[in-house]
């Protein structure tokens, strides 16, 4: 038993750290660390920089442009990037649709799409959820009717993250009403520039535009853009869910948020002369969430090790997502509480890049309460925490 990263892995960590320190543009870093609004170009700039080292999707197989990294290295990369204030590499392209294309797509699809994910030419979004189909995804209704070499797609997707920036959307659509609901679903890749697609913003509770409705009105999609077999889309979707494992634990972002929480508590007067971080009642709660984060980290490493042995992902991902989301929420709540009365301040103008005015309240306070509100999402998306508990009960406990 050895809980340490190898010397080789530690060397690699220093390499990543040096690279990020040298290459991450300060303007982007400041936005991320200052909770400012990120624009499309900010994400893409960072993807292009990472791509110079082959670090957009280094765990991909070599023949698709990856380096076949094991998850430990991937973890180190993600963590170092997050701690340094890099924008996240969104999962939708490299970690969601790409594995599906690699495993079930044809050669033409692989040759066309995969390089464009790596170089940032294609921004992908995920078109699964619908107004009537959230946790019960298989009840989705968006239909695709076959007409010769094209599908005609009609319906509505919703909660689509950053669809306003996307070039492509991968969708689950209904191609048959026969049999079980799961049996009539196909997996389509749809160009967001197709005539008939309308993206409508949904404003979230923090006042920000991060999610959308995506409407399809007689959208023509070449049959060549279907993944695998018609009516077999559910299998591919389930495969995809198994792939989103370690990132949902959000170790890197939570470590960054914990560091920030301590900085806020150290800079905040408690009203009694000492900084808040020295008030035992508050300090203990920071300590508690830090201990939770330590436990989660070791658990992530254990899951990585297990996956290495048996070569297929197991249901433990649900444990990681469940606890990872709870820790994210706990830290964001503490940071908000640390602000005391200033938690109420809402300064949406100050969140934009062009803002030159000053903001009111404590210097580290900007965006903190908004994040607390926004992070209620992490126990809802990617399979709500109730659904994760159902999975744990069924697949780990056999109930």
């Amino acid at each position: 038993m050895d809980l340490n990263f190898s010397a080789e892995e530690e060397r690699f960590r220093s390499e990543v750290r040096a690279f990020v320190a040298a290459k991450l543009p300060a303007a982007i870093r400041d936005k991320v660390l200052g909770h400012k609004r990120l624009e499309r170009e900010d994400f893409l700039t960072w993807v292009r920089i990472l791509n110079t080292r082959g670090w957009v999707a280094p765990s991909w197989p070599r023949r698709f442009g990856g380096q076949e990294w094991d998850p430990a290295r991937q973890l180190i990369l993600e963590e170092e990037c997050a701690l340094a204030g890099a924008p996240p590499v969104l999962s939708f392209g490299p970690r969601m649709v790409a594995p599906v294309i690699m495993t079930f797509g044809n050669q033409a699809q692989q040759e066309y799409f995969l390089p464009r994910i790596l170089n940032g030419e294609h921004w992908w979004c995920q078109g699964y959820s619908e107004p009537g189909a959230g946790s019960d995804l298989a009840s989705l209704k968006t239909r695709a009717e076959r007409r010769g070499d094209t599908y005609v797609v009609n319906g509505q997707k919703t909660w689509t993250t950053l669809a306003q920036y996307a070039d492509w959307i991968f969708c689950l659509v209904r191609t048959s009403q026969e049999g079980r609901p799961q049996a009539g679903i196909s997996f389509l890749l749809i160009d967001m520039k197709s005539p008939g697609i309308t993206v409508r913003p949904i404003v979230m509770l923090d006042g920000e535009h991060e999610i959308n409705e995506v409407w399809f009105d007689n959208v023509e999609v070449p049959v060549a853009n279907r993944i695998g077999e018609e009516n077999a889309g559910w299998t591919y979707a389930k495969f995809l869910l198994g792939h989103e494992r370690v990132s949902n634990a959000a170790l890197g972002p939570s470590k960054r948020a914990l560091r920030e929480l301590k900085a806020i508590a150290a800079a905040t007067p408690s009203g009694g002369g000492r900084p808040l971080i020295e008030v035992p009642r508050f300090r203990d709660r920071i300590a508690e969430v830090e201990i939770d984060l330590m436990a989660l980290e070791v658990m992530v490493l254990r899951v990585i090790a297990m996956d290495r042995e048996r070569h297929t992902p197991g249901p433990e991902a649900s444990l990681l997502k469940l606890q990872g989301s709870q820790i994210q929420q706990a830290i964001s709540a503490l940071a908000m509480e640390a602000l005391g009365p200033y938690a109420a301040l809402h300064q949406p103008l100050a969140l934009s890049a062009g803002w030159t005015g000053s903001s009111a309240g404590p210097p580290l306070g900007l965006g903190i309460t908004g994040r607390y509100f926004n992070y209620r999402k992490v126990s809802i998306y990617a399979g709500s925490n109730e659904i994760q508990r159902n999975i744990i009960a069924r697949h780990m406990l056999g109930l």
């Binding site: 408690s270 509480e337 009365p341 109420a344 509100f373 508990r389």
Partner: protein, 404 residues
């Protein structure tokens, strides 16, 4: 013991609820929030007509002279309708200070409060005070027949739009209160937006000169007034939170009955039923404590009042957090969208917790008040004969910690 509301209270509740249901729609509220002033003049005028603005003011001073439970009834309704108007600041907190300690000249403002002409705000908290009532760094110095005020006031609820401010400042003999016109020279008010749509102000006093008769009550006598006012505020916020939780629970209940997944209403999942049962439990605990807080507002013992107020604010804060978070979670994606009232209730409940002391603050206050009573009881025991010994107050301190 009697937990029934009077006929008049039921009447206030019903008419206010009817008015707010018809008028104070989510869209109307959004528009008020967007305007950034935190007050819709038309709504305010209607409040005056309904008589609720004069609730905290005795009849001889131009009000209708209600009690703490009348205020509770009103605040519950304002919470239920997510009202952001400066009712608490004006009609309960500041009016209360003037009723208690204002000079006859100052009390003449109160008739205007009841008719809706005067809005008031309490400017007490400062950038570094974090709800500690005695942490006042703002200074008032005597210059001839006037006072000159210097300092900063932070996150003043409804401070930007108020016609008059009650400002606390330290003089040679301690914390004192001053009644100051909102538009004064050498005072800068910056209006800021709160996440719940209400308006707060940062206030800078740079040589603000006020006449000697701006002093409220006696010099150095401000702290007990501020404390009493903050107790009124806490009781009001607790009632408001209870109203908001009622509404949120009802919304969520309606949602789980209509939202279908897996071919059934999601309310049929036991996992959600249990969570809603907990929401109900915590909302009812909060209601109980809001009653207690209002009931204790009038007791003479400061220690008893402090304990009740802090206990209520702590517990209501905990309930508000649980009920708010769960309501959002149970709504799924709909819960985090701005479209439904759900997220607006959640935000308001969150910020009630950050107003007039959060859970940690009141847990500390409660523990301190309890310890203080134990000490004085112990002293009494030592110094008194058994026959006159006071009973030792209940020393159980809450072991329950905020669930997270």
């Amino acid at each position: 013991m009697d937990f029934t509301f009077t006929e008049e209270q039921v009447q206030i509740r019903d008419s206010l609820r009817r008015f707010l249901t018809e008028t104070y729609t989510l869209d109307r509220r959004r528009a008020i929030a967007r305007a950034g002033t935190g007050c819709d003049p038309e709504i305010w005028r209607q409040f005056a007509e309904l008589g609720i603005l004069g609730l905290g003011i005795p009849q001889p001073l131009g009000g209708i002279g209600g009690d703490a439970f009348d205020a509770l009834v009103v605040m519950e309704e304002l919470g239920r309708a997510l009202v952001i108007e400066p009712y608490l600041s004006t009609a309960l907190v500041c009016a209360g200070i003037l009723v208690r300690a204002g000079s006859p000249a100052q009390q003449q403002l109160l008739a205007g409060v009841a008719t809706g002409e005067n809005r008031l705000a309490l400017a007490h908290d400062e950038p570094d005070s974090r709800w500690r009532l005695d942490a006042v760094a703002t200074r008032a110095t005597r210059k001839g027949a006037s006072w000159v005020l210097n300092g900063r006031k932070a996150m003043v609820p409804d401070g930007a739009g108020a016609d008059h401010l009650v400002i606390s400042a330290r003089t040679e003999s301690g914390v004192s209160l001053f009644l100051v016109p909102g538009a004064s020279e050498h005072m800068t008010r910056t209006a800021l937006m709160s996440h719940d749509g209400s308006s707060v102000a940062e206030i800078t006093l740079e040589g603000l000169r006020v006449p000697a008769d701006a002093l409220i009550g006696v010099e150095g006598g401000g702290l007990p007034l501020v404390e009493a006012a903050s107790h009124v505020a806490v009781a009001g916020l607790c009632s408001e939170a209870v109203g908001a939780m009622d509404a949120l629970l009802a919304l969520t209940l309606a949602y789980v009955k209509t939202r279908r997944q897996f071919g059934v209403p999601i309310g049929s999942f036991q996992a959600l039923q249990h969570r809603m049962a907990d929401m109900l439990l915590h909302a009812e605990l909060a209601r109980s404590m809001s009653y207690l807080a209002s009931a204790k507002l009038g007791v003479r013992s400061v220690g008893e009042r402090r304990r009740a107020i802090s206990a209520a604010k702590f517990l209501v804060g905990r309930s508000a957090r649980l009920v708010g978070q769960e309501a959002v979670q149970i709504h799924g994606g709909m819960g985090v969208s701005e479209e439904l009232a759900t997220s607006h209730y959640f935000k308001r409940l969150t910020l009630i917790n950050a107003s007039f002391g959060d859970m940690d603050h009141h847990l500390e206050q409660f523990a301190a008040a309890t310890t203080a009573e134990l000490h004085s009881a112990a002293l009494t025991t030592i110094h008194s004969t058994p026959a006159t010994r006071r009973s030792v107050p209940d020393s159980r301190s809450p072991q329950a910690r905020p669930g997270r």
